[in-house]
């Protein structure tokens, strides 16, 4: 059972993601954010569960849908918004934009916009960890689209072979852009894709943050103890359009039934109900958290607005190490 303190932390992380993403969507029409945004809305339970279940020295590698991980790990909100604004005070100094969240301080090593591309890199990070004793667990976070790529299987095979301390975390939101899983695979038990290669897998409810948290904790402990990799599939549903701030619930690719079910079971509501019921959190406390979150986001947006854009002379900085204007 997840401790009460942890449950509230998880809820607060999720809340932070939700409100931040809502703010992003709200700002977006002003064109201040000129970057393709892939929101983590309705997938906060996975981001929060994974981020908090891992230790402070563990490392995560994510995708272009990376705001959630960044926030849940405790990445500073200011540099996030500043990066969306492409300012020099952004987490990538205005060079990466929305798709390339990074905050090595909190162990988010980088998010990549090429599907599955970070999976082998995370595997290499796990190799480095193992070479140094294996105490650091690595999480590769990716979508259900990533399991289409060969490099996913190659990585799982290598991780199994070398018994690497890595968790392969699949956020199965049923879609890759507008392609449902069923148009890309005959079979849909993604968690089984590593089985024959020696990577045990399991499928979990991705909308229940305590389930996510506990499953990651267990798998991480096992990996840290030398138990090797795990493939953890979290089932959720993408509520927003693939990219952009809006909803596209009328679009033909949508599975009406799954959508209706998802709309009825918001992971943030599920978490809120848990903290209220299990931890006895009061309405006043909830309001305070909302207010605090809002204050942080306001401050982050102000930070972004106040930031200067990078100067043209900075263009060639960091192409190579040490080269800067």
């Amino acid at each position: 059972m997840t401790s009460l303190k942890t449950l509230t932390d998880l809820y607060r992380a999720m809340l932070r993601i939700r409100r931040a993403e809502e703010r992003v969507a709200q700002i977006y029409p002003t064109d201040k954010i000129q970057s393709p945004i892939h929101l983590s809305i309705a997938q906060e339970a996975i981001a929060a569960g994974v981020s908090l279940a891992l230790g402070p020295d563990d490392h995560l590698y994510g995708t272009y849908r990376g705001h959630g991980l960044y926030i849940a790990r405790g990445g500073a909100l200011g540099p996030l918004f500043a990066e969306l604004y492409a300012k020099d005070n952004g987490c990538c100094r205005g060079k990466g934009g929305s798709m390339h969240m990074v905050s090595t301080d909190v162990g988010l090593m980088g998010c990549s916009a090429i599907v599955a591309s970070n999976i082998p890199i995370a595997t290499g990070a796990a190799l480095a960890s193992k070479m140094e004793g294996g105490k650091r667990v690595i999480a590769a976070d990716f979508g259900d689209g990533a399991v289409d790529e060969g490099v996913f299987f190659e990585s799982l095979n290598f991780a199994a072979l070398k018994k690497l301390p890595i968790l392969f975390v699949c956020e199965n939101n049923n879609y890759a852009v507008n392609s449902p899983l069923s148009t890309r695979h005959l079979t849909t038990e993604l968690f089984r894709f590593g089985e024959a290669l020696g990577v045990p897998g399991e499928r979990f409810d991705g909308d229940d943050v305590s389930v996510v948290y506990e499953s990651v904790r267990k798998a991480a402990a096992s990996a840290r103890a030398g138990g090797g990799p795990r493939l953890l599939e979290y089932v959720t549903y993408r509520r927003h359009e693939h990219v952009g701030p809006g909803l596209d619930h009328q679009a033909p690719y949508r599975d009406r039934e799954k959508l209706a079910r998802a709309m009825k079971r918001d992971p943030l509501d599920v978490a809120r109900a848990m903290v209220v019921e299990r931890c006895g959190v009061t309405a006043a406390q909830l309001d305070e958290w909302e207010a605090e979150t809002k204050r942080d986001i306001d401050a982050a947006v102000a930070f972004a607005e106040a930031g200067a854009p990078p100067r043209p002379e900075q263009l060639l900085d960091d192409v190579y190490t040490g080269a800067s204007a």
């Binding site: 970057s35 393709p36 492409a86 929305s98 916009a113 289409d148 854009p309 990078p310 263009l315």
Partner: protein
Amino acid sequence: MTSRKITYCAAINEALTQAMERDPKVFVMGIGADDHKELFGSAKGLLQRFGPERIFDTPISESAMTGVAIGAALEGMKPVHVHIRADFLYLAMDQLFNMAAKWRYMFGGSRSVPLVVRAVIGRSWGQGAQHSQSPQSMFMHVPGLKVVMPTTPRDAKGLLLAAIADPDPVVVIEHRLLYDIVGEVPEEPFELPFGKAYVRREGKDVTIVANSYMVAESMKAAEFLSGHGVEAEVVDPVSLSPLDERTILESVRKTGRLLVVDTSWTACGASAEIAALVADKGFDSLKQGIVRLGQQPSPCPVAKPLEDAFYPSARKIARTVFEMLDRRVPEAEVPALTHKFRGPF
């Protein structure tokens, strides 16, 4: 032939529609090919018209899907494999370079590979480092492939139809910022030849060889230059492999000066090849050194001021020409080309 003005995107769509109508062996495949976004509109109506056997979505497996297209082509089909970003082609290089480009040759001519690969260059609105690349030079480097970069709606239709009709693998690199431009396009199916460059604008003072979206920037620069007494000739190779050497060399013979502008980086880029060509076969026509413009040597950044510094532009082209001619850059700056592109795809 009757012709009317349509967009680049509509021209691609028309080419696909006509090719699929005429030849049941033509089919379209690619990530998202059959969804309601219809490959930025370029696949509009194909699903309704030709059904899910002839236009289909694929798993996100660029390498295998390229192999699948090659295999189908070998066996007599005519696949058109679409990538909404050219950056994703890096996952398919093994199949394209080691297999498609070499199949016919290494088996002594046994079978051809009538494959068409369409890939779109992204730009702006935060595409960033991984959604903005123009890998044409890599395809030009490897014998066995043909490479074209359509610039006008007419090119887009005529070259796509030619690519589909061609027995060998052809890589068609489109530019997202060209999708909405409008131009005259014949209604009937027609093919444009490979290896033919177009003089987009005549001039006597300097030759600008530019491709794809860089033609738009170059035309804008040329207009401005003209207002200051400099007549630039703009030559668009369109077909990069095979390359129409003659048209380029003839233009340089006339102007004696060459600026090459490519959508990608300069190092070993298409611009290097064109410069090297002229430095060999056109040397005697040259009055001065050949200048190249391309992306600055960095990954593509997101912030606008960096992006402006990163990409070649009408402004930079005009400045460069003034410098080549040893003329003072006039006070009135070249207006920047404004592209309306907004939003991620």
